[in-house]
């Protein structure tokens, strides 16, 4: 075991899989000598050489499209998009191509590829280095969407994603990149895709979240417990396919649901979670389903800390739900 940050855990996962499987190749902007703008790929080019750690030109469509072709051939490319905000020039290659190749070819071609990208606020990145647009991918059949909130999960989920036979969009909460360390096993282990984690047990209200917001929820839950409210926190880990069992089991126990994320609220993935419950467990609900999200404005540079839901706001809604 070593104490690693989430960022180091990502690096560790990449190194572990590249050592184990020579089909694994990295491609992205500044991933080579520079080690990535966040240092996620630091040192890998020294070990694996420029053929397997491919510094790409400034073109996201090419990064994703070329990785797709490599995956069709049988490689296991891991593409890095420098910031989630910059994935859109390559969006068509995800929406029209990578996600649909297995289906449209009747299963004869497949794309075992991971697209890693940092997302979310917390680094004073303003409009274009802070966005959380996971909803664009959770609405896309043919991809899986994963987001870890801890170093342990980051390594295990990333290894599982690289081994997964489908396209995995791997969203790294950049606010958590260096925020704390955790013991992480050396070498090889996986955290299965499609399984949520109950990050904190509780019985009065269910908080559902993923990525950086999980920590906000835990903090709010702890504050709530001082007021005698017992809040359960579910860390989805995989957004698509969602772990419906864990979600429903919790809501069935607590009867109250609050979804917390950083995305623009309208049309976000929080709405899907709410709708799933409104479809399947409406009778158990003793309060409205609240969603605490970012505002429906572009991400604000100056007002970053107000834009992102904080524990105080979550606590407010916990009280509201419990006292409804």
């Amino acid at each position: 075991m070593v104490a690693e940050t989430l960022l180091q855990a990502v690096n560790d996962a990449l190194r572990t899989e590249m050592e184990a499987d020579d089909r694994v190749v990295l491609i992205g902007e500044d991933v080579g000598k520079d080690g990535g703008v966040f240092r996620a790929t630091e040192g890998l080019i020294n070990t694996f050489g420029p053929e397997r750690v491919m510094d790409a030109p400034l073109n996201e469509a090419g990064i994703i499209g070329v990785a797709t072709g490599m995956a069709m051939y049988g490689m296991r490319p891991v593409a890095e998009i420098q910031f989630m905000d910059f994935i859109y020039p390559g969006f068509d290659q995800i929406v029209s191509e990578a996600s649909k190749i297995r289906y449209r070819s009747g299963g004869t071609y497949t794309v075992p590829m991971v697209i890693r990208t940092p997302y979310g606020g917390g680094i004073k990145g303003g409009i274009y280095h802070s966005q959380s647009t996971e909803a664009y991918f959770t609405h896309l059949p043919g991809v899986k969407v994963v987001s870890p909130s801890t170093p342990y999960d980051a390594k295990g989920l990333l290894i599982a994603s690289i081994r997964d036979p489908d396209v995995v969009i791997f969203l790294e909460p950049k606010r958590v990149y260096r925020s704390f360390r955790e013991e992480v096993p050396e070498g090889d282990y996986t955290v299965p895709l499609g399984k949520a984690k109950t990050a904190r047990k509780g019985k009065d209200v269910t908080l559902v979240s993923y990525g950086a917001s999980v920590h906000t929820c835990i903090q709010a839950a702890e504050e709530a417990s001082r007021e005698g409210i017992s809040a359960e926190v579910i860390d989805l880990r995989t957004l698509l396919p969602i772990d419906i069992e864990t979600l429903l089991a919790s809501v069935n126990r607590t009867g109250r649901l609050i979804v917390v994320n950083e995305a623009n609220k309208f049309g976000s993935f929080a709405g899907e979670i709410s709708a799933l419950v409104a479809e399947r467990a409406i009778d158990v609900l003793s309060a409205p389903i609240y969603r605490i999200s970012g505002f429906d404005t572009p991400f604000s540079y100056t007002w970053e800390s107000v834009f992102m839901p904080d524990a105080a706001k979550v606590l407010e809604y916990i009280r509201k739900a419990v006292n409804y």
């Binding site: 499209g65 072709g69 068509d92 191509e97 297995r102 004869t108 043919g142 489908d166």
Partner: protein, 369 residues
Amino acid sequence: METKLRMDAALFQVMDNEGNFDKELEPEIPKDRLIRMYRVMQTVRMFENIAMGLQRQGRIGFYIGAGGQEACSVGSTAALKDSDWIFPAYREPGALLLRGETVLQLFHQLFGNENDYNKGRQMPNHFNSRDKNIATPSSPIATQIPHAVGMAIAAKMRKTGDIALTYFGDGATSENDFHSGMNFAGIFDAPVIMFCQNNGYAISLPTRRQTRAETLAQKAIAYGIPGERVDGNDILAVYSVTRKAVERARKGGGPTMIEAITYRIGPHSSSDDPTKYRDKSEVDEWMKKEPIRRMRGYLIKKGIWNDDKEKELLEEIDAEIRSAVKVAEGIAKPPIETIFENVYEEMPWHLKEQMEETVSRYGKNYRGG
């Protein structure tokens, strides 16, 4: 300090409109192979005539033809090894047929029946053949270009000696994925051939409105890679130019872009009315350069073809196609469960739920009413 960049905008040709050919330039292709190439060209043309008829009768939903462009795909595919990869668009049934895919299989695709490799999920003319190393095309234009580059880079890493070739149109050169693919190909020295069928139009837009560049081949200069221009209705020229690019790629010389000047005789697709945007006189002019007639002229001049053989061939192909239509049309749709398969390797819970609900409504193994 001064560097001159130059490029031949000249069109490479081996034969004229009558099939008279330049002995110096004539490629060495065995007689049987030449006849096979000719057969495939004729098959593509006749296939199209029949398929367009089926479309008009409502027996298939759509058709998008290759009439007039047969020399492009057949001539270039002939220059590849069967282990090389092809990333087609939608006007290359010739590539599949030359590699030995059957006419019947193509009709399975058009009818979207259960033998279709695509399981009936795509519109007509989206042919793939995993078995023949022919990738799965989509409808968005140019998206296959970066795939071909990625495949070529991977093959190079694996030192298989295989290369990739991708087909696209003049319109596709405006798309972003052309820019992406060309640039990555250059930087990573990918053994890939970018084969552009410049048929003069992207639906209604003439090539001169697609770009201000005089030629499409000169776009290669932007990426530091060689660009070639070839008469795309001259199958020998197409073969030779592709061959040269293949050799370069196989020797580690990297990518080549080929612009083949050709013309689509028919409409863009069964939904198109070309009289809106081009004159009959233009079509007539191009009919003189039509590739099948030219190839026939060449074969006759070489003394390996004659009218009897022609008649026999056409009858054979016609029979093959008609029988294929009959068989393919009679085969059932893929069962309703296939809607939910192949989205992922393993079906997740929500798709299972949707499948169960659908099956409960229509019945198990339902194939349409």
